[in-house]
C-alpha cells in the first residue's frame, strides 16, 4: 500500500481550548509535578505568572483535541491499528496559565515512505487569546505498510 501524499499541506479546523485551573492541577499531579507555581495561585503570582502556570508538556492536553481529526481523516488514510507515535517535538513560546484560551491549528506537513514504513508528520501551532504562540508541535506517526 503506497503512501498517499495528496493530503500533504492540508489544514484542519482550528480547535479552541479553555484552560481551567483544576485541569492544570490534575495534569500536574498526574505527572508528579511538585513545583508550587504549577499548583498554587499565590506561588505562581509571586513568580510573576498571571495565574497558576501549566507544566510545559500540558501542551498535549490543549493541542490533542485539534490533532485527533487530522490523524483520523480518511484523506490521510492512516491505518490506526498499525500506527505508533514515533517522535515528538515541542518548541514553547508564551507560558500557558489558568484562564487562557488556546487555539490550535493542525496541518499535515509531510508524508513519506522509508524502510517499508509510512511516516506522517503533523505540525500544530497553538496561540493564546492575545495571539501569542504558546507551542509549536511536530507529531510524527509511523505506520507499518506494504502489507498488501
Amino acid at each position: 500500500m503506497p503512501i498517499n501524499k495528496d493530503a500533504v499541506g492540508k489544514e484542519w479546523q482550528p480547535v479552541t481550548y479553555e484552560v481551567g485551573l483544576e485541569k492544570i492541577r490534575e495534569y500536574a499531579r498526574a505527572v508528579g509535578e511538585t513545583n508550587p507555581v504549577n499548583l498554587e495561585r499565590e506561588a505562581a503570582l509571586a513568580a510573576g505568572y498571571r495565574d497558576v502556570v501549566a507544566p510545559p508538556m500540558f501542551c498535549v492536553v490543549y493541542s490533542a483535541p485539534a490533532m485527533g481529526p487530522a490523524v483520523l481523516d480518511p484523506d490521510v488514510g492512516i491505518n490506526l491499528a498499525a500506527m505508533v507515535h514515533g517522535s515528538q517535538e515541542f518548541v514553547w513560546g508564551e507560558p500557558v496559565c489558568a484562564g487562557d484560551v488556546i487555539t490550535t491549528q493542525p496541518r499535515l506537513a509531510d508524508a513519506y515512505e522509508k524502510d517499508g514504513r509510512g511516516f506522517y508528520v503533523f505540525m500544530s501551532e497553538s496561540t493564546n487569546q492575545d495571539g501569542a504562540l504558546t507551542v509549536r508541535g511536530t507529531w510524527t506517526n509511523i505506520v507499518r505498510v506494504c502489507e498488501s
Partner: protein, 133 residues
C-alpha cells in the same frame, strides 16, 4: 535558576527517578484525555501482542521535561524538547531520566537526554534546550 548558567559541556543534570504505580496510566489518561485501551486495559493490551498495558509515551516525555524544569527551577526555562519513542514503558518499573550538557552558552543550555527502565531505553535521541530568562 542561577545554577544553569554554571553548567558546562559534559556536565550532567540531576537524574530524575520515578516509579509510576499500577494505576498511573489511568490517572494520566484522565488528565490528558488519551484513553487508548493499550494504556489502561491489560487484557486488551495482551490481545494486541503487548506484554501488558503500557505507559503513555507523552507521560514519559513529561518526565524528561520535568527533569529539565526541575534542574532550571522554573517551567519557563524549557524552550524545546524533541524525543523519539522506542521501547515500551511499563507501569511499576522505575524510570530514570539522564541528561548531559552538549552545548552551554551563557544562559542557553542544550542537553542530550534519555529515559530508561533498566536496559530498556524508552525515550532516546532526545534533545532539550533550556534558557535562563
Amino acid at each position: 535558576m542561577s545554577e544553569l548558567g554554571d553548567l558546562n559541556q559534559g556536565d550532567s543534570l540531576p537524574e530524575l527517578r520515578v516509579t509510576p504505580d499500577k494505576y498511573l496510566p489511568h490517572r494520566y489518561a484522565g488528565a490528558s484525555g488519551d484513553f487508548n485501551p493499550i494504556h489502561i486495559d491489560p487484557e486488551f493490551a495482551k490481545a494486541v501482542g503487548l506484554p501488558g498495558n503500557i505507559l503513555h509515551g507523552l507521560y514519559s516525555m513529561a518526565q524528561v521535561a520535568k527533569a529539565h524544569t526541575d534542574a532550571a527551577g522554573d517551567p519557563r526555562a524549557l524552550r524545546r524538547l524533541s524525543v523519539q519513542f522506542r521501547g515500551m514503558g511499563m507501569p511499576e518499573q522505575e524510570i530514570v531520566v539522564t541528561s548531559t550538557v552538549k552545548e552551554a552558552d551563557g544562559g542557553r543550555v542544550v542537553t542530550d537526554t534519555e529515559a530508561a527502565q533498566g536496559d530498556n531505553r524508552i525515550i532516546r535521541n532526545a534533545e532539550a534546550e533550556l534558557e535562563v530568562q
